[in-house]
Every structure is written in structure tokens, then in C-alpha cells.
Symmetry: C2
């Protein structure tokens, strides 16, 4: 039986999603519980491997089990064994052909920024502090040209290993909040560090440190044009889409 | 020159306010920075010594300095040296007779609870999870008799060393929030664990595990009548009053 599990996690005390020997990771914690329950190693497959410090409002994973546990019971059992910063919100049985990573049709990420002059100790690890004046209209002008199908080489980390850098961005919004704003971006997929590099660029435009030049930067396919990467703490994987 | 410093801190990574050798505490962190700046030991005096895991939206401390730094400059210097979970919101010069602890005329504490069925990993260390049905009206009836001057022996920890257990509660409210509620309590002063014991009692009444019996419990002056203490993570020192 293949199960699809929807998870939330607060990334600040994890060394990212992916298993690393001797370090606390989301994958390590889940596989350890499942392996104990099954008395043999259980591998989980995530929709996306989030980096160290990155959060998930919704992450999806799948795994296979022979245990005779009804899917509605799984949520309770997993949550009882998981630590407070990792929570299972839903477990459903899926067809054996389902794959949490290969079958995704899109993802939404949210990037949270607060702009008050004073630092807020209760946002530590949860929102990025940006106490400098920003021109919201300039940022919106720099965001609009991202929509569409583009090669995002200029907005991805040189460490990425995927050859095809073409992705489609279907939605990119700035949502004002009580004490700052969120960027919410939806696309077919995202390259390594892509959201954080895009956010760093938009903030530089908003600060007046560089002019809006989105399409030229995209077309240049040149990684060095946007050297900055926004911090992990503000980034949330928000939703995974399947057909 | 005596300075009054208003602080905020996220208590989840501190072993409380008070200095403890080899452990991370708010006092330890502040005194270490001040001692480096003065090249001699500087003692700070807080309005209240919060426990491990307890937060402060406003804590007040004072210390004496001979350094020729304008008080408006102090805030900047301290924040530059403090870690992210500890923030100075205000520094003002006060008379040499001022004392942050002895001159307080009252304090407000807030206790944050969320009641959604699912745990929220982003509230870890910041709000107490209470996913059981509560009768708000019953809780309010149990809260009302706290107002006034009472001996709070029944609602304080046996570990407290202060002889006089009489305190005045001037205000006690339940404020509903997006996903739960806050208790906000103001009084002349609070005994050791008093707010957390009162909250534990009110929640037991709200759950229907015990009947409202506030005045009788107070009058009994008997510590064993309320054996529970609500967790530290939901508690915030919110305000300190001086004349």
C-alpha cells in the first residue's frame, strides 16, 4: 500500500529535509520512526528537498507499507511519535503508480519579510527582517516579467545539477501583512535557491540599489548577475500540486 | 548615571533570566556585553526574574555606568551585540534612586493558548497547545473572584521563599484570538509560578474536570489544592508599571 503524507515543519532546528548522517533532518526523523514501526528500513520520497532553515506549510512525501493500519490511524500514530516542530496534517492511500516527486505539476513558495525598524525576537528563524525603505511599486514592476516560461539560469545557484533550467512561473504576488509583506510565487518547478535569489533581486530593486532589469537578466543566462541569496529563515514551501 | 533598559526576549533558548554558570541566560548575556564594554563587572537588576522558557514582551532592568554614551546611542550599541532572540526596545536615563525591582507598582502577564485540533509547528515554544473543548463562560466565572486583594498561597509554588503572599489582582481578562485565546492578568505582583498555576486551574474548570471554586481555594491557603502548573512556553511578561 502506498501512502501520501502531508507534513508541516518549522525548519529552524532541522539541517534541511534530506538525510545526513548524525544531523537532525526531516527525512531522518520520519524514516527513523517508520523503520522502527516496520522493523526494516523504510525510504520516504518527498516532493521537494528543502534546505536547512527552510519551512514547510505543506510538504508531500510518499512511502510503501505492508502494515495493516487504516490510513486515518496513521496520522495519529505518526504525530504521537514526531517532535513538536514536525506535524502530519493528512495521510491518504494512493495508487501504487503515484510518486510524490515525479508527479508534481507545480509548487507554491511563500517568503515572509517584516519591515519594522526594531527586530522582533519572536520572529527569530521564522521571518526575514528587512528594516530599510522599499518601493513597493518598483518591486511589483520587477516581479511581473517573471511570469511565463523562461530559462532561469541567472536566478539559480551554480550548485544546481539539473541541466534543463526552463521553468514556468504562473503566479507571483506581493501580499502586504501587518508588519511587512509576503512574496508568494507559484510555478511548474524551481531550481536550486531560485526563490531566494529572486527575492534578493526584488529587494535590491525595492531598495533602489539596482534598476528593474528582470527580462535582460533572465535572457543573459548568467549566474553572476544576481550574486545575493535571501536568508533561508523567511522561506516556506506552501503547496504541492498534483493532477 | 543609572539607565533603565526595556527588553523583549523569546525565552525558548534561554535557561531563564537569572545568571547560571555555564548556561545561556538573559542576565548572563547582558552582563557579559556590559562587562566587556566597561572592562569591569557590571551587575544588572531586573523587575522580574522570569523562568526558563518564559518570554518577555517588556522586561525592565537597570544598571549604572560611567561611560560617556548618550542614552539614545545605548539602544543601538546593545542591539548590535545581542543575539536575535533578545532585543532592547528603549534605553532612558533615570534618577540614581530608581530601582527596576523595588519600585514596580504592578505587572501584566499574558498567557497564550491555541486550541486547534492539529498542533502548529510554528507555535513551538511560543504558545501552549490545548486541543480539548473548553467552556469559556465557566472559565470567566472562575476568573472573576481573583480580582481584589488576596493571600495567594494556594496559587503559588511551594518553592517560593517570600513570606508575605498577599497580592492585589486588578484585572484578569480572556481575550479570544484567531485560533485560541490569551489570558491577560495585571496585579501588584505575582508569587512564584502564580500565573501558571492560576492558568492551569482555569483550564481545568473550562474542561469540566473541576467545578469553579476560586474563593474557597484562595481562602484555604493550601498549596495542594491546585497541583498543576501550565507550561512555561505560553507565558509572557507583558508590562512593568512604575509610578
Amino acid at each position: 500500500m502506498r501512502l501520501l503524507v502531508k507534513l508541516q515543519y518549522n525548519g529552524q532546528h532541522f539541517h534541511g529535509f534530506q538525510y545526513q548522517h548524525g544531523l537532525r533532518t526531516v527525512q531522518g526523523e520520519l524514516e527513523s520512526i517508520l523503520t522502527k514501526m516496520h522493523k526494516s528500513f523504510v525510504r520516504i520520497h518527498p516532493a521537494s528537498r528543502t534546505d536547512r532553515g527552510v519551512h514547510a506549510l505543506e510538504q508531500c512525501i510518499h512511502f510503501d507499507t505492508e502494515l495493516a493500519i487504516p490510513s486515518e490511524r496513521w496520522k495519529f500514530i505518526l504525530n504521537r511519535n514526531l517532535s513538536e516542530d514536525l506535524h502530519v496534517s493528512e495521510v491518504t492511500e494512493v495508487e501504487s503508480s503515484f510518486h510524490a516527486r515525479y508527479l508534481t505539476t507545480g509548487k507554491t513558495y511563500r517568503y515572509k519579510i517584516y519591515t519594522t525598524k526594531d527586530r522582533n525576537p519572536f520572529y527569530m528563524g521564522l521571518k526575514t527582517h528587512h528594516p530599510y525603505p522599499l518601493d513597493i511599486e518598483k518591486m511589483k514592476s520587477a516581479m511581473a516579467p517573471f511570469i511565463g516560461v523562461h530559462d532561469f539560469t541567472s536566478f539559480s545557484s551554480a550548485k544546481g545539477t539539473i541541466q534543463n533550467k526552463e521553468r514556468e512561473i504562473t503566479d507571483f504576488r506581493l501580499i502586504e501583512t501587518e508588519d511587512g509583506f509576503d512574496f508568494v510565487i507559484t510555478g511548474s518547478g524551481f531550481l536550486y535557491n531560485m526563490v531566494r535569489i529572486i527575492v534578493a533581486y526584488i529587494l535590491e530593486v525595492g531598495e533602489g540599489r539596482r534598476e528593474e532589469d528582470t527580462l535582460n537578466i533572465i535572457n543573459a543566462k548568467e549566474r553572476t548577475l544576481v550574486p545575493r541569496t535571501a536568508p533561508a529563515e523567511g522561506l516556506y514551501l506552501e503547496r504541492i500540486y498534483y493532477d
